[in-house]
């Protein structure tokens, strides 16, 4: 399954194998840079710096001729100026030959200005260039050279060693970059000794070598270290080819092992070895085309491998690498074409073409440097994407102008920069989206989704785990969300950005939440998880738990308060009403107080319990009314129907209880009836309650409603219904209560 790319230095997530996370998810501390690793890295760094210094010393020691030359269109060299007074006098003359002390003079032309045989397309010219450079360094090594000009004059010039200052400004940054690249390779291998990382090391070293060569090219003036030109072409060809072959091999291993592809890998290495051997033996014609074509071909093969790996299982790393890889390969091809075209026209065009090539190598080196860090920060990724996009566009355009349209170098560069900026302004978002993947969500949408989820969790706390998983799914769009048995202390990015480990329960053993969740492959394999994602996930989990806890606490507090109030009311007030009742002077007063007491009990009972089922309430109402009517020797006809045994809210329950009680009391007090019919019906949310008697009451419209019946009106209104009294058929009164939408009012 998916293997990991090791991270260097202090990374907390190198330990987790994205495939076997369930088992390897031990609470062990992340690997620290202690012990032998640190010593090894320090040793390597020391070694590298020393080698660099040795190289610089060697370069500083080469003899050179300090003068400014200009290549004329005819291919000859014209002296512009020089620090040596003797030479300066000759300014403006065209150089014919140079001769070292005791050496034969040899012809020098504009070819001497071209630094690197690497970019010489034509085999013959390259050989001549290498030869020329060799002889120049030989001549300069003698300490003094004689320069003969076309007009016959000649001058003796000194060729001192360069000295440190002669290394130029560009050498040190390039050397530093090379050093950094090499050390990164070492660190990556040390962090996790695996074949993939060894291949990465190889690539890093090769490109560091390239960078060093480029640095050497920037040396000013004529005169390069002996032997350099001879080997440079071969070495750089080897570097590029090895890098490409290593890339092929690496992509066959990471992010996914592709065992069926091993033959391709072996072929790649074999071809590389063959080509390098042939080139070393000098038997390879069209060397430059091989130097460009072989790495390109191998690079394309590597990209194809990535495509295969991505198709088997979408992995954000593969997707990302593919995008960058395609850009790199395309620009490489463009650079090659531009250099080849420019080679037709010699002179100035060459140098500009070479600059384009150098820019490409810088871009590639930065890409290599950033590969281990892709998952660390969205920011780094974004910046690199911008750099890649704009840099390559600018370089390519510049090359195009120079090579095809033969625009002057300064003009073409300026034009290229402007165009690149234009592209940046217009297509920045597009570039970002396509290179990095759409950035997670706008804050607005995130907030909204969180808000909705928090509300849902508050309403249904038993779905907490499910809703949390859903929210994480919406935020990150992973290909899968897995529940883990063991937790972790922090959210972590594991598997080089392919998975995100989110601790959920947080030590609370009672909770129904799982210990942790693992999200794999953000945005269905299109995007890597970064540290920002980890932090966001942590915060989301935390906030959701807080929302739930808060809500629960509020609810609990409310319940406790209600109970306390009910208790207080009941005990205190109830007891006093009771005493009053015992001391009532008259029957009416006693009954009045008794009803008050009963109302109080209804109220407190409604407060204390939150849940009144209709069927239960019906039983209690019937028992109560039966008892009262039996005592008064009145017959009761009771009918109670409902289609749904729903829960009554406190308001509904207490209102109905009191309405019933009041109506029956009223009948008992005034009607002098022999029979009371109570009909209750609740069908499809429509409530209908009638209390009918056969007493002496008549013409209820003319009644003045006292407190009791006024209370009935009020309660019914609270329920959202209507009440009316009318004459019963033969004798007595009927009270009809109707509530159209009983269920809606809670």
């Amino acid at each position: 399954m998916a293997e990991r790319v090791a991270h260097d230095g202090g990374a907390a997530d190198s330990n987790f194998d994205a495939s076997g996370f369930e088992h390897s998810l031990n609470p062990a501390a992340p690997r620290r840079w202690t012990g032998w690793r640190r010593s090894a890295l320090l040793a390597a760094a020391l070694l590298a710096v020393l080698s660099l210094l040795v190289l610089a010393r060697m370069l500083a020691g080469t003899a050179h001729l300090d003068a400014q030359w200009q290549a004329a269109p005819a291919g000859t060299l014209t002296l512009l100026s020089s620090d040596q007074a003797a030479l300066n006098v000759m300014a403006g003359r065209t150089l014919a030959t140079i001769a070292g002390i005791d050496l034969e003079p040899f012809e020098v032309d504009a070819l001497a200005l071209q630094r690197s045989p690497r970019w010489q397309v034509d085999d013959l010219r390259r050989r001549r260039q290498m030869d020329l450079q060799e002889r120049l360094s030989q001549a300069f090594a003698t300490g003094r050279v004689t320069l003969r000009f076309t007009d016959g004059s000649q001058v003796l010039a000194a060729t001192p060693p360069r000295g440190a200052a002669g290394l130029g400004l560009l050498f040190w940054p390039l050397a530093g970059l090379a050093l950094l690249l090499a050390l990164t390779g070492v660190a990556v291998l040390l962090a996790r000794p695996r074949l993939v990382n060894a291949l990465y090391l190889v690539m890093a070293f090769c490109q560091a070598g390239n960078l060093l060569f480029i640095g050497i090219e920037t040396l000013q003036g004529l005169g390069l270290p002996a032997g350099l030109s001879r080997h440079e072409m071969l070495l750089r060809l080897a570097f590029d080819a090895i890098t490409a072959a290593a890339a092929v091999h690496a992509f066959a291993l990471h992010p996914r092992r592709l065992p069926s592809v091993m033959p391709v890998v072996t072929t790649a290495w074999a071809i590389t070895a063959l080509v390098v051997a042939l080139a070393a033996a000098g038997r390879l014609p069209w060397l430059w085309w091989w130097a460009q074509g072989l790495p390109l071909a191998l690079g394309v093969a590597a990209l194809l491998l990535l495509g295969v790996s991505h198709r088997i299982e979408p992995h954000p790393f593969a997707a990302l690498m593919r995008r960058f890889g395609v850009i790199a390969a395309a620009t490489y091809a463009l650079v090659s074409v531009a250099v080849a075209t420019a080679a037709e026209r010699s002179g100035v065009a060459d140098n500009v073409a070479v600059i384009g090539a150098v820019v490409w190598y810088l871009f590639f080196a930065t890409l290599l440097l950033l590969v281990p860090f892709l998952a660390r920060s969205r920011q780094a990724l974004r910046e690199f994407a911008m750099l890649a996009g704009i840099g390559t566009v600018a370089a390519s355009l510049g090359l195009l102008f120079v090579a095809v349209f033969e625009v002057g170098p300064a003009a073409s560069l300026t034009l290229a920069v402007f165009l690149a900026l234009g592209v940046y302004a217009v297509a920045r978002q597009w570039i970002l989206n396509h290179l990095v993947g759409r950035s997670a969500l706008s804050t607005e949408r995130t907030f909204e989704q969180f808000h909705t989820t928090a509300r849902a969790v508050q309403e249904q706390p038993e779905r907490h785990a499910e809703l949390l998983a859903q929210l994480l799914r919406e935020l990150f769009e992973p290909s899968e969300v897995l529940t883990l048995d063991r937790g972790a202390d922090r959210a972590r990015v594991v598997g080089a950005g392919s998975a995100l480990l989110v601790p959920v329960r947080g030590g609370d053993v009672e909770s129904t939440l799982p210990p942790a969740l693992m999200l794999r492959l953000a945005r269905r394999g299109q995007r890597l998880f970064t540290l920002e994602d980890a932090r966001l996930a942590e915060r989301v989990v935390e906030q959701l738990k807080r929302a739930v806890a808060y809500d629960r606490a509020v609810e609990r507090g409310r319940n406790e308060e209600r109970l306390r109030i009910a208790q207080d009311l009941h005990d205190d007030i109830g007891a006093r009403l009771l005493t009053l009742m015992y001391q009532a002077q008259s029957r009416e007063m006693e009954d009045y107080i008794r009803n008050t007491l009963k109302d109080l009990k209804t109220l407190t009972r409604g407060l204390a319990s939150t849940d009144h089922r209709l069927s239960h309430a019906a039983g209690e109402w019937k028992a109560d009314i039966s008892q009262r009517l039996t005592v008064a020797q009145v017959q009761l006809n009771w009918s109670f129907n409902f289609d749904q045994d729903q829960r009554l809210s406190m308001a509904q329950w207490s209102a109905l209880t009191r309405v019933l009680r009041e109506l029956v009391s009223n009948t008992l007090q005034h009607a002098m009836a022999s029979r009371v019919d109570v009909n209750f019906s609740l069908q499809r949310q429509r409530l209908s309650l009638t209390v009918a008697d056969d007493g002496i009451g008549r013409a209820p419209d003319n009644w003045a409603h006292g407190l009791g019946l006024g209370g009935v009106r009020k309660r019914v209104k609270l329920l959202g219904g209507e009440v009316r009294w009318r004459d019963n058929d033969k004798a007595g009164i009927v009270c009809e209560v109707t509530v159209a939408e009983f269920g809606s009012r809670r």
Binding site: P461, E462, H570, D571, G574, A575, L578, T579, M581, Y582, Q583, E590, R594, L597, K598, K601, R605, A608, S609, T610, D611, H612, R613, S615, H616, A618, G619, E620, W621, K622, A623, D624, S626, Q627, T630, V631, W638
Partner: protein
């Protein structure tokens, strides 16, 4: 033969009211002892031979216990008087099952609601002494749940407001052996309880079940006893588990 009655009630007005009720209820001459708090009551009981009620010394025949006492719960006294040969009646202002049910579990033979009228109280008292204790729908429901879950049943009533939202009762270990008969309800008794929970009167239940009125009352009395026994059994089991016995 005088009937000794003990009335435990902290409110003096209520106390005298209850005295009147007792006097009105029984034709026998009776000697009413009043107690205003638990301590006094205990003293009186000890005078008649203590909680065990040693026969021979003239014990109380009827004890009315107020549940809302200032120095403790009347249920404590009820529990102490488990072996006492008297009819124990609780008086209370609360008519909800949360308060009454534990009292019944402690061995009350019936209950009186303080809010009722004088005549109603008299009649209820007579009925209890006759062996026809009342059972409100709420208590009937509670009893049904209690016996349905077996011995050591519920600690929370369905709609007392404390039930968990999930509605899933915690699975408790079910006894392998069949519970002895005196701790389970017979089908008839369950039927009576069901009707009572729906609010039917004794008369209506009798006609619905096709039995005599007295039989219904016998069932109710038997239910009371079973509740008491099962509660005591549960208490004994708990006590033995905790190593107190």
């Amino acid at each position: 033969m005088t009937v000794k009655v003990l009335i435990l009630e902290d409110n003096p007005v209520a106390r005298s009211f209850l005295c009147r009720v007792v006097r009105e209820s029984f034709s026998d001459a009776n000697l009413i002892t009043e107690a205003g708090d638990l301590e006094t009551a205990r003293r009186h009981i000890n005078l008649t031979g203590g909680a065990r009620g040693l026969h021979g010394v003239d014990p109380f025949k009827l004890i009315l216990v107020d549940l809302e006492l200032p120095d403790g719960n009347g249920m404590e006294l009820l529990a102490e008087l488990a072996q006492y040969p008297a009819t124990k009646i609780v008086t209370t202002l609360y008519s909800d099952d949360d308060h009454l049910f534990p009292a019944l579990q402690c061995g009350a033979d019936g209950y009186l609601l303080k809010e009722d009228r004088f005549e109603v109280l008299v009649e209820e008292l007579q009925k209890i002494v006759r062996g026809q204790p009342p059972l409100s729908p709420a208590i009937a429901r509670r009893l049904l749940t209690h016996f349905r879950q077996g011995v050591g049943g519920d600690s929370q009533a369905p709609d007392s407001g404390f039930m968990k939202a999930t509605g899933f009762t915690s699975s408790r270990p079910v006894p392998i052996e069949k519970q002895p008969d005196h701790e389970r309800l017979t089908p008839r008794e369950t039927e009576v309880l069901t009707y009572l929970s729906k609010g039917f009167t004794i008369k209506e239940i009798a006609s619905l079940m096709g039995i005599k009125w007295f039989t219904v009352n016998d069932h109710i009395k038997s239910i009371y006893k079973k509740l008491n026994v099962s509660s005591r059994a549960e208490a004994a089991v708990l006590a033995s588990k905790q190593g107190l016995v």
